[in-house]
Structure formats: C-alpha cells, structure tokens
C-alpha cells in the first residue's frame, strides 16, 4: 500500500503515561497505514493501548515520539488550533458512551458539525434530513437524547460522525454499551454508511461481527501490534 493513497499513516508511535512515580508505556512504537475507504478493526485485551492509538489517530492526543500524516498532510508540530480545524474537516468520532449533547435534539446533534463548517441553512437541512433518514430516525429528529434508546443514540452519533463526509471515522468500542441485537444493527449500519461515503474507519472492538465486516483486523497486545 503506497503512502499516497493512505488516509492516515502512523510511524513508530510511542506514548507513555505518568502514573504517580512510574510511567506506563501504552504504545511501544506502532506503525500503521489506513487506506482511503478502508475499514480497520483494532482488537486486543483491555489496557493494550487501543484507545491510546485511536486518540493519536483521531488527532485528539499527541504522541511522545513517531510521525503522523492525515490525507497526506504531515501533522508533526501542528498546534492545537490547526489540529482542531483538521478534525473539524476530516475526522468523525463515535464514542462508546454516545456523547450526544443533551440539550440538543437528534436533529441539532447531527447538524452541529455542519454548523462548525459554516454550511448554509438550506444545505444543512437537506443533509441532516438525509442523514437522519439513512440511520432510520426521521420520526425522532425532534427528540432529545434522553428520550432515545441506546441504539437510537448511537445511530444519531453515527449520523453526526458521517454528516460531513469525513476522510476518517474513529470509533472506540461503539457497541460496548449495547445489547447484542442492537449492536448487530449498529455494526451493519456503520459498515454500510462508511462504505457508502468511502470513509476510512478505525474501530476498536471486541465484537466478532464488527471484525468480520472489516478489511483488516489488527491485534494489539501491550502496546505493540502483532
């Protein structure tokens, strides 16, 4: 796989955390390239460094050592403002705990990334309606997150992550808080929509079904890719 096609490429990433006196090495030199439209599953035991890797991948954390590129752009040394702008344009997030804004309706939550991008009202309306339709929530657009089930909330989160047609979607155990039937639907939906919009996806998961949908399954143990 050539670097030119890669949405993300990570080289020799290291990250350690201070815990009191000692320090924990969460990533011990991880290199990874994710091609455009590729879906990568990240598996491994709890504490193996999956979240740490996703955070670095999604530009919400910085490595101690190593290099990163997103869509061909070198990230080393970029300040927080530039990184935020890149996330705004290119990265969608799906969290284990859904992380919707409680005072915003499903509609408003999905619309939010477009507001940040300064998309005009008419186009926002069209795209949000379409996105909500695609995740099967047309009827629940005016509901607040509190009035939605876990599965419905994660659908809103998927719509929010994909509404801006991001180059990269980061999903950290998106089905861990859902029952297996709901989880299955969410896995299928994420797979389907990411494919449709040819977004690269990096998903940390313990879910067999999720892994089976992915192009590649990576195994992380003690901060090292196997």
């Amino acid at each position: 796989m050539s670097m030119a096609q890669a949405t993300v490429s990570l080289g020799g990433l290291r990250k350690s955390y201070r815990v009191g006196e000692s320090s924990v090495e969460a990533l011990k030199g991880v290199s990874l390239a994710v091609a455009a439209g590729e879906m990568v599953a990240l598996t491994g035991p709890s504490g193996s460094g999956k979240s740490t890797l996703l955070n670095l991948c999604g530009l919400i954390d910085t490595p101690d050592a190593g290099s990163r590129e997103l869509c061909g752009k070198v990230l080393d040394g970029l300040d927080e403002i530039r990184l935020t702008q890149l996330r705004r344009e290119k990265v969608g997030f799906i969290f284990q705990g859904f992380n919707l804004v409680p005072v915003m309706t499903a509609y408003d939550n999905v619309e939010y990334p477009l507001l940040l991008l300064g998309v005009a009202l008419e186009e926002r309306r069209r795209r949000v309606a379409e996105a909500l339709h695609r995740v099967g929530l047309d009827a629940l657009a005016r509901r607040l997150p509190d009035a939605l089930s876990g599965g419905q909330r994660q659908r809103v989160a998927i719509a929010r992550a994909l509404i801006k047609a991001p180059a990269l979607v980061i999903a950290d155990e998106p089905t861990a808080n859902l029952d297996s039937a709901t989880a299955r639907q969410i896995v299928d939906l994420l797979h389907e929509l990411a494919r449709e919009r040819s977004a690269s996806v990096v998903v940390a998961t313990h879910d067999e079904r999720m892994s089976s949908h992915c192009d590649r399954v990576l195994h992380l143990i003690d901060g090292e890719l196997q």
């Binding site: 935020t84 990265v91 997030f93 409680p102 005072v103 990334p113 507001l115 929010r160």
Partner: protein, 403 residues
C-alpha cells in the same frame, strides 16, 4: 442565532441554578438602579432648592462676594436698576431679583437677638422662592405698607415672642458707620426648614432696608432662569457684558449641594462596587459549576472540531443571556419601585441640620438604566470567559475522561 439558542438551552439546563444567578443579578442591578435613582432625585431636588434660594446666576460688585466690607454695601451695586433691566432682557431669564444682605440686632423692647436679613423686592422674591420657603402665618411684606413690614423665621419669632402684627425694632450699622433703627411690623412667619437659619431670618422690603442703611445700592442681583440647564450659558453672557462685576452660579454658592453630592457619590459608588462583586461572584459560581459539569461534553465538542475559543464564546453567550435576563428583571423591579414610591408618599427623615424631611422619590434616568444593563452583561460575559477558558483549553482526552 443558532449559537444564541444553544446558549439559552444550556441556561435552561439547570433552571434553578440559572434562576438563582438571574435573581441575584436582578436584585443587584435593581439596588444600583434604585439607589442611583434616589441619588439623582436628591441632586435634582437640591439643585432646584439651591437655585430657588440664590437664583441661578448671582451678580455682584467685583469684590462683592469677598465679605470684607468695612461698612455695609461698600461693595454694593450702584446702578442696580439699569443692570437688572439689562439682565432681564437676556433670553431665558425669568426675573431679576435685587437683594441686600444685612445684619444687626432685632428687639421686642424686652430682649434682643442677632438677625441675618435680606432686603428684597417682595413681589419678585417670594414668587420665585416657591415651596423653598413655607409660611406658617401671615404673608410677605407689602412694599407700599404705611409702616415697614418684615417676615421673620419661626425660631426667631419664638425667641421674640412675636406673632403676625407684633411691633419689633431692627438695629443696624449704616453705610456711614452709625447705628440706625427702624420699627417694623411682623407681616408673616416663615421657615426655610433649617433651624439655624430660621433662628436669624429676617426678610424685609428692599426700600425699607436701603433707608435703614442710608444707601440706594443693592448687594446682589439674583438672575432666575426658566431652565436650570441654561445657567452656564447665561452666566457666560453676563460675564462677557459686565467684565467689571463678579458673576457666580448657584453651583458655586451651593455648599450643601456640593457636600451632599460628594457624599452620595461616594456612598453609592461603594454600593455599586459591592453589587459588582456580588453579581460577579454569583456568575462565576453558576457558570463555574456548569463548566465543571459539562467538561466531558466540552471534550466531545472539541474532538469533533470545536475550537477552544468557540467553547468559550458559547459560555460567554450563556453568561450574557443570564446577565441580560437579570438586568431586565432588575429594571422592572427598579421601575416598579419608582412608580410605587410616586403613589406611596413616603418621606425621608430630615437631613442633618434641617427640620423637615423630603419626599422619598426615585428619578428615572435612561442613561443610568442603559449603563447598568451594559455593565451587568459585560460582567456576566467576563465571568463566563474567566471560568470557561481553562476547561476549553484542556487536552481533549483529559476532558473526555472527566466524569
């Protein structure tokens, strides 16, 4: 617009807490508005009172205000009638009142007391003084009376055991340095509300006083205006046309007004500072709690591409919304108090050195209301900026891990 709605929704998220901050802000701004309104009303009343006493513009001989004359009216105005006519013709002038200040002894035959008197033209003077001087008995002196008439202060009347119609004698030094006396009839008993003044007050017809002092000069010309606001303008004109004379305004002569104003400005200034602190504290407290509670949400919004500045801006909008709501409620409260006092007829107790109180009323000043509103909103915005800056700049992973 979307951001304002978002801010308002967040305000309503913890209604009780936002309402508390709003109420504190409302009471704080109402207190500032009410006390400011009270101070303004007091200033206005005192302005009116002083201007009615001295006249808006007072003209005297070049050394007329120095009070170091060797004999009475040494520095008097000789051509007062012509000058008065000229001033009366200036635009905005209501009337010109010639006056002679004089002092001496007043006697009822059994005992005597010191008096401080004014010779005035009764027809002009008593009309202009208005409610500033209240008659307890009788009426102003008549200038064409067969025997000279005087109005005396109520305290002096008590001292002299005088009633309307009582015969008294005034003793004073003439312009030639001799003692002269005149018998006068008490035509009225009045009070200006200051016992120290009422104890010595004698107001007599100008012509009688000039006769007593053996002079045809007057001490001062008090120019009364239609509008107090024209004071400086008219004073300037008079100064220009009469460079040889000394011209003062009521403001220069209003020692009491200046003292009260300085005192109130200080008192209400301190009150204002206290209110600022309380409002700031309430805002910092309320918004600070909101920021802490929403740290994880801040992390989420930051992750999906919201800049720290935009997070801060949202909190600033939130603070401004609470501040604006509080300021509006405060204005309504203060406005209601202003209207209620109009009908309540409440009285303030007499100020130090005075025997009568004055009505408790509040002035309504759009400038004051506008300034307080802007200040409250600015304070709220400042508080929001202060408390949200740190959370907005926290590393995203740290904010997301917040529980």
């Amino acid at each position: 617009m979307k951001w304002l709605i978002f801010a308002w929704k967040n305000v309503m998220r913890n209604r009780r807490r936002s309402l508390t901050a709003m109420l504190i802000t409302a009471f704080g701004s109402a207190a500032v508005l009410a006390s400011g309104g009270f101070a303004l009303f007091t200033y206005e009343s005192l302005e009116e009172m002083t201007a009615r006493d001295t006249g808006h513009v007072v003209v005297a001989h070049a050394r007329g205000f120095e009070g170091d004359e060797d004999v009475p009216l040494q520095h008097g105005l000789a051509d007062a009638t012509a000058l008065a006519a000229r001033f009366a013709a200036l635009p905005g002038v209501r009337a010109v009142a010639p006056r002679v200040q004089f002092s001496g002894l007043i006697s009822n035959g059994d005992k005597s007391a010191v008096f401080v008197g004014s010779g005035v033209v009764p027809e002009i003077d008593f009309r202009l003084r208005g409610p500033q001087m209240s008659f307890l008995a009788g009426q102003p002196p008549a200038s064409k009376a067969p025997a000279p008439e005087v109005v005396i202060g109520n305290e002096l009347a008590r001292l002299m055991k005088a009633k309307v119609g009582t015969l008294l004698t005034l003793l004073a030094t003439t312009t030639e340095g001799n003692l002269n006396a005149v018998d006068v009839i008490v035509s009225g008993i009045a009070s200006v509300g200051v016992p120290e003044i009422d104890k010595r007050l004698v107001l007599a017809d100008l012509a009688s006083v000039q006769k007593l002092l053996l002079s045809d000069k007057v001490g001062t010309l008090s120019i009364y205006l239609k509008e107090t606001a024209d004071t400086e303008l008219v004073a300037g004109r008079v100064r220009e046309s009469q460079p040889g004379l000394t011209v003062k305004t009521w403001r220069d002569l209003a020692v009491f007004y200046q003292a009260v104003r300085a005192l109130y400005n200080r008192i209400f200034g301190i009150l204002g500072v206290i209110m600022i602190c309380i409002v700031l504290f309430a805002m910092v407290n309320t918004l600070g709690m909101a920021v802490v509670e929403r740290t994880r949400e801040i992390g989420t919004l930051r992750a999906i591409g919201t800049l720290p500045g935009e997070i801060v801006r949202n909190f600033v909008f939130e603070g401004m919304a609470i501040g604006a709501a509080g300021a509006v409620a405060g204005m309504l409260l203060a406005g209601a108090a202003t209207v209620a006092l109009l009908f309540a007829g409440a009285e303030m107790p007499p100020p130090p050195g005075r025997s009568v109180g004055y009505p408790l009323l509040l002035s309504f000043s759009p400038t004051l209301y506008g300034a307080v509103t802007l200040m409250v909103i600015a304070l709220a915005a400042g508080a929001a900026w202060l408390v949200s800056r740190r959370a907005a700049n926290k590393p995203v992973t740290e904010a997301l891990a917040h529980v």
